[in-house]
Symmetry: D2
Subunit: 367 residues, 4 copies
């Protein structure tokens, strides 16, 4: 019952604080024989890394991963893989102006209420830096998936910034890597740039919605009743800093549909069932159908803003706070690779679980 | 790693199928000394029970709970509590017309793909009857909460049916028990009655949104990083049949806010922090603030409808299906007590976890 | 973290008290497609059943198992299997003379100290009746093993009663079912009968040692570091009532050996490695070698004896106690099928775990 | 279900190989507010450290621990504590002569059979170096215990080397730190020195028995049925490299006793129950009585010896092997601090579990 762990068989425990010497992920249950090296993982960390453009925090972190265990001669051995990232930019700031105040909308106050200890250096354990460890673990999961489910592909993107949604008619996945917002809508990329620039200069911040799609997922992944694929995805995404909602398939909009409208009709194709639509987001009864698995999550705006807000101190006095420093005007941007990493971890976990639980007993459709 | 269990310390394992001899909940980790009897649990089952009005399935189930273990002389002993509900109406239907076909939007096909075994009797394990076991466990959790957190109160209601939302200006919690939809908006109750009646007669179905609020929750509940209170609530709600999205506080709408709009400002009250608003839904950094904990979830329309839909058979032939029988036109109605039960279980679990983890070390605010 | 559960993937939660309405096992994670019915499980319960001869307690329990879930048309479905045994002989005794006293060597006092609740009816949850649920679960595990590892065979027997050990030169496995002590040494069976008869008449009790051997275990089962096969077997056996020690292979005697004497030398046989001896008990580094897995455990004498012992009452007064009633003079006898059941559960669990963890990556020996 | 983790609430995951860059322990669930620094942990690692005298391996490892997370301003924060030990002496040996051969009695062969990957550098993950991580975690557990149960004291010692047992009449705990064998019997220390010196020179090895006693353990720790205190201790000790048996209290000898001889009679003392003896080893029904908790475990001789043994190669050819290098003639010596560490971890875990599970409901004895 590790509180800092997730996964059933592919089990990731993250550790470390924003401003401690290092952070990382202890990954237990990775299958043996997976080809892996630090560069393979580094590519995903580089995607999440701060300071890459003016839309993300200007903190400079190399986010260089080291593999400390579990790999021998370039392959995983089946023993725990320790992925460590040293913090290099952790001493550059003076926190004296906020160390006794609680930022509204920040975990400062609840960590204090729970633990009676407050690590004020950049949020300590509640910092979004923890997600670097997730991305590292996700990099390992991706390589394991290549071995076990070669046609599986994971794609994350931003589909809404503040009130501005992408135009689904201008959806082009090849555009995702062409803009700083990881969005498939090139027009949105332009509009958001203008919008966010103004917001950043005013010291404000804004929320976002991220979508992650996995294609090539085998049918049959997921374990009713309380380890359903959608249950585990909901937990994985909700556990990311600042996430306030998770949708599968049609999500909240499913409430508005009638049974006829919601039914993804089925016909028989050459390689198995074909669906007329994907309202379900690729999951029925908690188990994958073989369609694209579609997850969206909403990220709230960061609470670290330049506008003065009312708050209290640890000793219970009313006061005000502004949060200077190097913050993301839209933390949702850097949540894209994090969402992808969580998707990779959850799918690998359920793939392993499916192997262990079922053996050769899967139901076939067709003669 | 029970796949049919949830909870860390208050651990509920549900078992049983729609049409087997019985179903139930094995509850491990209930504290000793909780006063409990069958009637205390029965009241919540009666709320969820089918056949109570024309808006729910006409299946007749007594849903009578029996306590088989863990209680001695009217109090829990600290050992597992077995709550069993015998199925009494399980043999009345002929499933021959659907036993080889998959209902679009139903778990029929994925259970088959996963297990190679299909229990066609009313959905087997994927049936919403499983939620009766959750409600029973929730009834026990409520009594334990009375002992450990006497001021805690859980209230669930329906806030949207199909496209029709309640008017938050006509919000009156005392109305919830006065209508068949568990809604706090009496006008909505009238409108929905007309709407659903028409839908029911046409053999269709529709989705809904349920909201569950817990007041009186102590600050400090929740365990970062992967056992956050919101993470566990998201998993708990997403695991309920037909749920496609979960929101905490502002939920999806948080994406549209700026940092200023989203900040719940803090001032010092006589008994602790007071917040100017509750965008966060009572949870910051995964830990309760002491404000109301607010969760919403969307329920899709049931796939069992009278309209013909295209589908395939187990042997891979294209065909059509209509689902006759006793179904809920809006399964969201009966999801209200289920959502309350999950809230009760998660909060009790985190209350126990908090005691075990922290001892006397909580941070105080004030001199 | 169910405290009343064991197993990683094949997860058994037992519930119920000695004198409640029923007890049972909730089995989660059984693979689908296992042929099972009540009679298949009943045969093992009958072996453990009390009152079969004068050497076991005269309590009359039918110990009739009912399958309440998880089985459809004679096969497991992959969903939880609920195995219930109703208590039929639970009201026949008056416990008033011991309800405020603690039996020396019994869990009476520690349950009271832990829970502040004492179920004095026959020991409540601490009664050895709990092991009936284990035997039922073990019966299901055996059938699953038949499917997944057809050549695997589990044999338990008594190898020591009080100070009297079997003669390993008269070891004949076919004798086990021919005597009331499940011993492979027919001479020991005769001697023990005389010995135990005298002990029983004097109202005393005595300890025993049980050995369980599994042959045909595939190499590679076990998961270092903390889910080693021997770790899990040690936990499984130590969790049985009254067990005070567990040995693997040479056990305590391994301490006396030199490295040369302890080395099981290896040579290549037609089907894989052959070992010159089995000091290791079939397990190296926590993983099965393919040799016989050999486990022994010591059972202490029951504390329920007719001799007066000094004790105290709940209110802290010094007093004396004798325990009348229907008790086993040597509880070790009925521990034989329990040990076998635990072996079956642990091996099935590790077989499933091995499938899930490794896929097709096992190391081959030979060209 | 981390396979490399142990503990319910105080959850330790060890990682790392004998000859990788580092190894360590990820400790989740340590209560906040525990005073800790590297020196406090280092003292226990120094006790286990190799190369301290001629009776332990001559490998030179500084075994210097670094705290990478979870501690702020000298106190634990409630977040994961990462304890890392860098390997400094990992490249000094040539393994080419054994890299294709399996050492009899070693995990070489089973790791290969399980994973298809063999880390031949000093045993990889199966090396006893893993226990350094346990000792580090145990050092942290000890400091947490000081806070939560100040009178608790853990003492480990060697009570048997090969066939030579200590004389319990010469038992003097103050002697333990006065000899290289951590034995309380000064005469045994002298005799063993001569015995082991001869053994070491001949290139042989021998087994041992370790005893660990915890005094000052509160009554009520332990969680029936499958998280009993003795179950968890048995698992913890059996998981240590080379351990083949675990005893609680009288252990195997309990089998020889009658009920009268085994009963620890109870009388009322000024501060609670007093027991006339401690056959039970401080545990009844899996729950601590308040007496000393007594555990013993047998360690087999190391398989790395200078005598030629028959074995096979990976390609299945018969061959012979001798293991040169820096090995412990009696690995039991260094198992003493490891056993103590496991005791500390298990007791802290159950102390936290007891707090979480029971709240204020413990039963009192007395008026």
């Amino acid at each position: 019952m590790s509180l800092n762990s997730f996964g059933h068989l592919f089990r990731v425990t993250t550790w470390g604080e924003s401003h401690g010497p290092a952070l990382g992920a202890t990954v237990d249950g990775c299958p043996p024989g997976v080809t892996i090296n630090e560069a393979m993982i580094q590519q995903w960390l580089d995607k999440r890394k701060p300071g890459q453009n003016k839309y993300t925090t200007q903190r400079r972190e190399a986010d260089q991963v080291k593999i400390l265990s579990g790999v021998f001669e370039g392959k995983t051995t089946g023993t725990p893989v320790q992925l460590m990232i040293e913090n290099t930019d952790q001493r550059s700031k003076d926190y004296s102006d906020i160390m006794d105040k609680f930022r509204p909308g920040h975990a400062d106050i609840t960590y204090w209420q729970k633990y009676g200890i407050r690590d004020y250096r950049g949020g300590g354990r509640s910092s979004a830096r923890e997600t670097a460890a997730r991305v590292a673990a996700g990099g390992l999961a991706r390589e394991a998936l290549k071995l076990l489910a070669p046609s599986l592909k994971i794609t994350g993107f931003m589909c809404q910034m503040g009130p501005h949604k992408i135009n689904r008619d201008q959806f082009d996945l090849s555009q995702i890597d062409q803009n700083p917002f990881w969005t498939p809508d090139p027009q949105a990329a332009q509009d958001w740039a203008t919008y966010l620039d103004a917001l950043r200069k005013s010291g404000s911040s804004v929320g976002a919605v991220i979508e992650v799609i996995a294609s090539g997922v085998p049918a049959g992944l997921g374990a009713p009743i309380y380890a359903k694929l959608d249950t585990d995805l909901a937990a994985a995404m909700m556990s990311i800093n600042a996430v306030k909602a998770v949708e599968i398939g049609d999500g909240m909009a499913a409430a508005e549909l009638t049974g006829e409208a919601n039914a993804d009709e089925i016909s028989m194709g050459p390689d198995g069932p074909i669906y007329s639509s994907n309202h379900a987001g690729g999951i029925l009864g908690g188990i994958s159908t073989g369609q694209d698995v579609v997850v969206r999550f909403a990220v709230k705006p960061t609470s670290s803003i330049l506008t003065t807000r009312k708050t209290i101190t640890k000793s219970g006095e009313n006061t005000e706070i502004i949060t200077k420093g190097r913050h993301d005007p839209c933390v949702g941007i850097r949540a894209v690779p994090v969402g992808e990493a969580m998707m990779a971890c959850v799918l690998l976990d359920h793939l392993l679980l499916h192997q262990g639980q079922v053996g050769a007993n899967q139901g076939k459709i067709g003669k």
